[in-house]
């Protein structure tokens, strides 16, 4: 019985395939050496580099050394055979196995239009195979890469961020890593992020035939004038490029500012008496501000009024002087108080804090002096009345 099991295992070992990994089973009746490519006729653009994938297939022949050569390349072309990433001059294919090669074509930019026939030859001691490859030169090639903004024109204020969704489609037959750059006007800040993410990126892998979405964020400088600004997006991957143009339409916005005359934000006031503070309202924005309302916050009991109360219209870059009338209460204790003055126009506000020094009326000083004088008068009266020897 034990002998039987041993015999069986030996049999199984013998039946198990003794070919190296990766080898295919030779189709029945196939024998010989072949030089193969998927597309033996290709179209390339002058000035670009293209690669043609080749394969040496050995069916049921003993392996041998095959010297490789390429003939038929016109003057100026650089034709290189690559194997495993480096230039090679010979290849060996094991029995029932294949070796892949790449034919790299560097076509000069001034190459003449038309077709060229290249012949790749693999020559061994017993066998020789050759493969003609037709290379056609053409100026315009179907795009390998496209970039398409979903909404190419956005509108907003100088404070908003413009976000453009874009699709990068890889129409070439290979997986590509597409890198992108945006050319925006000066001081505009442009960055790319993933479609659903916040990480900034500069390139993205796109599989053959697939498309990927990216997002372009453009932040204009806050002082930019209202206008339409173009942004050019350029996507490159190996020898393919694609371009798209998007637009920022920036609408103007008023920006108010409020300050004291000559930058002075302090004032003096007497308790119970109105003090007038000249206040400058300016529009530093890019659109006119309309119906500017003026208001003020002061400690309780204080009165704050403006002359005039509202400004109808303030063009960009214009300033206007108004008078703030601040009245501390009658009983205000001497000292410094803060009053906040505010100008607002439809959501746009500017405010400034003013320091008001309240002084007590000197009238009480005079009253005090009067009391002392009265006391002295009493003394004089007493001296006159009660004076005696």
């Amino acid at each position: 019985m034990r002998l039987g099991i041993a015999l069986l295992s030996v049999l199984l070992l013998a039946v198990a395939p003794a070919v190296p990994a990766g080898a295919q089973e030779a189709p029945a009746g196939m024998k010989g050496l072949y030089l193969l490519t998927d597309y033996p006729a290709v179209t390339v653009r002058p000035g670009s580099t293209s690669t043609v994938n080749l394969r040496i297939q050995n069916y049921a022949l003993p392996p041998e050394r095959l010297a490789l050569s390429v003939s038929g390349a016109p003057q100026g072309w650089t034709v290189t055979l690559l194997g495993g990433g480096q230039p090679v001059a010979a290849a060996m294919a094991a029995t029932n196995n294949s070796t892949s090669l790449q034919l790299r074509l560097d076509v000069p930019a001034d190459a003449a239009m038309g077709s060229q026939n290249l012949t790749v030859t693999a020559k061994g001691a017993s066998a020789e195979v050759s493969l003609p490859i037709a290379v056609t030169l053409a100026k315009e090639l179907p795009a390998k890469l496209t970039v398409e903004p979903q909404l190419p024109s956005l509108r907003g204020t100088s404070k908003s961020t413009f976000e453009y969704q874009m699709n990068i489609k890889n129409d070439s037959g290979r997986n590509l890593v597409a890198s992108f750059a945006a050319q925006a006007p000066q001081n505009f800040e442009a960055s790319f992020t993933e479609q659903y993410g916040s990480q900034e990126i500069s390139s993205i892998p796109v599989e053959a035939g697939q498309s990927k979405g990216i997002k372009l964020k453009v932040r204009p400088p806050s002082t930019v004038a209202s206008n339409t600004y173009p942004v050019a997006v350029r996507v490159t991957a190996e020898d393919a490029t694609a371009e798209a143009k998007v637009q920022l339409e920036i609408t103007g916005q008023p920006q108010l500012s409020l300050s004291g005359r000559d930058g002075l934000v302090s004032s003096r006031a007497e308790a119970g008496t109105e003090a007038t503070i000249p206040v400058i309202v300016a529009n530093r924005g890019t659109a006119p501000a309309e119906e500017i309302e003026l208001a003020g916050n002061a400690p309780s009991g204080w009165k704050v009024a403006f002359e005039p109360k509202t400004i109808d219209r303030l063009a960009p870059g214009q300033t206007r002087e108004v008078q703030a009338q601040i009245t501390p209460p009658q009983k205000a204790i001497a000292g410094d108080y803060m009053a906040s003055l505010r100008a607002s126009s439809r959501g746009e506000t500017a405010s400034s804090d003013f320091r008001v020094s309240v002084a007590t009326s000197t009238m009480w000083g005079i009253v005090g002096a009067g009391i002392i004088a009265f006391a002295l008068l009493i003394m004089v009266g007493a001296v006159a009345r009660f004076g005696r020897r």
Binding site: I333, A334, G335, M338, S357, I371, A375, L376, R389
Partner: protein, 319 residues
């Protein structure tokens, strides 16, 4: 008998004689030593405290007189206790002393009016106190210059000057009071005891009593007590009553002068009104805010003197 001629006649003679007597008396020496000793110790500690503080302070020099934080051992506190003591010491036997020594009628037999005698004695007492306070004041400033190494600013000088004047007025109030008692009581011991008793009462008991009386007149409102704020009406009564004591008036005036950003009760009220914290008042506003107190002290001094004057004029002086 009506007086003939100017009541000022003889004032000068009495003034210089009394001044000489005061300045050479042992009593004055003892009082001076007391003040200098107390003042020196307190100012020394204040200076040490200032030297150890690195924070910037626009009124560094004023801190010598009133160090921030602790109020018990400041120069001002010592002065507010010692000024009444000196003033009472100088004035309690002004008239009855002469009377008891039987020199009063002798003086009055000279071509010196009663007016002149009282005026001269009062002015001499005030001058003595002024000399005493000015000397002390200059000593503190000199010590501050030596110890702190920085000169006082103009505003600080102004504040210290007003402080000096207020101190003299405060001394004048107690001098008038002491002289009033010396006119009223024939016994010097009674006069001294009454004056000292009144001083102790006003300085120690009255502030506490004013709180109670104020509370009784206008009880605290529960609405204010709930949020931890003193009732304004009660505070007004308590403050008004406490201000009967010259010590309170002096304290308030001094705080306004020497501690421009101090946390007095008025300042607390000002905060509720929205005043910016830590912003010192300018000098003129400080004087204005302390003006009622200053006026009260000066007017009180004059009126107390007038009462003493009238009492003296109506008195029988022949013994």
């Amino acid at each position: 008998m009506r007086r003939e001629g100017s009541p000022r006649r003889g004032v000068g003679v009495v003034f210089f004689r009394e001044l000489f007597d005061h300045l050479t008396s042992v009593r004055m020496l003892v009082l001076e030593l007391l003040v200098v000793l107390f003042g020196a110790v307190v100012v020394y500690f204040a200076a040490e405290q200032i030297r150890n503080t690195t924070a910037e302070d626009p009124f560094l020099f004023l801190r010598l007189f009133a160090p921030p934080g602790q109020s018990l051992l400041s120069f001002v506190t010592v002065l507010s206790i010692l000024i009444p003591l000196i003033a009472i010491g100088l004035g309690f036997d002004a008239i009855n002393g002469e009377y008891n020594r039987r020199t009063l009628s002798r003086i009055l037999s000279q071509p010196i009016y009663r007016d002149a005698l009282l005026f001269g004695k009062f002015l001499a007492g005030l001058a003595t106190l002024s000399i005493c306070l000015i000397t002390l004041w200059l000593m503190v400033i000199g010590f501050g210059l030596l110890r702190l190494g920085i000169p006082p600013s103009t505003e600080e000088m102004g504040r210290m000057l007003v402080f000096l004047l207020v101190s003299i007025a405060y001394a004048g109030v107690w001098l008038s009071l002491a002289m009033l008692f010396s006119v009223l009581f024939r016994s010097t011991a009674t006069a001294a005891l009454s004056a000292l008793g009144l001083w102790l009462f006003l300085a120690l008991l009255w502030p506490a009593l004013a709180q109670v009386v104020g509370e009784a007149i206008s009880p605290s409102d529960i609405r204010f007590t709930m949020i931890g704020i003193p009732t304004p009406d009660t505070v007004a009564w308590q403050q008004g009553l406490a201000r009967i004591s010259p010590g309170t008036l002096y304290g308030e005036a001094v705080v306004a002068m020497l501690n421009p950003e101090a946390q007095s009760l008025t300042n607390l009220l000002a905060q509720f009104q929205g005043r910016v914290l830590g912003a010192p008042l300018p000098l003129d506003q400080s004087i204005l805010s302390a003006w009622p107190q200053i006026v009260s002290l000066i007017a009180g001094m004059i009126l107390l003197f007038v009462v003493g004057y009238i009492a003296f004029q109506r008195q029988e002086v022949r013994a």
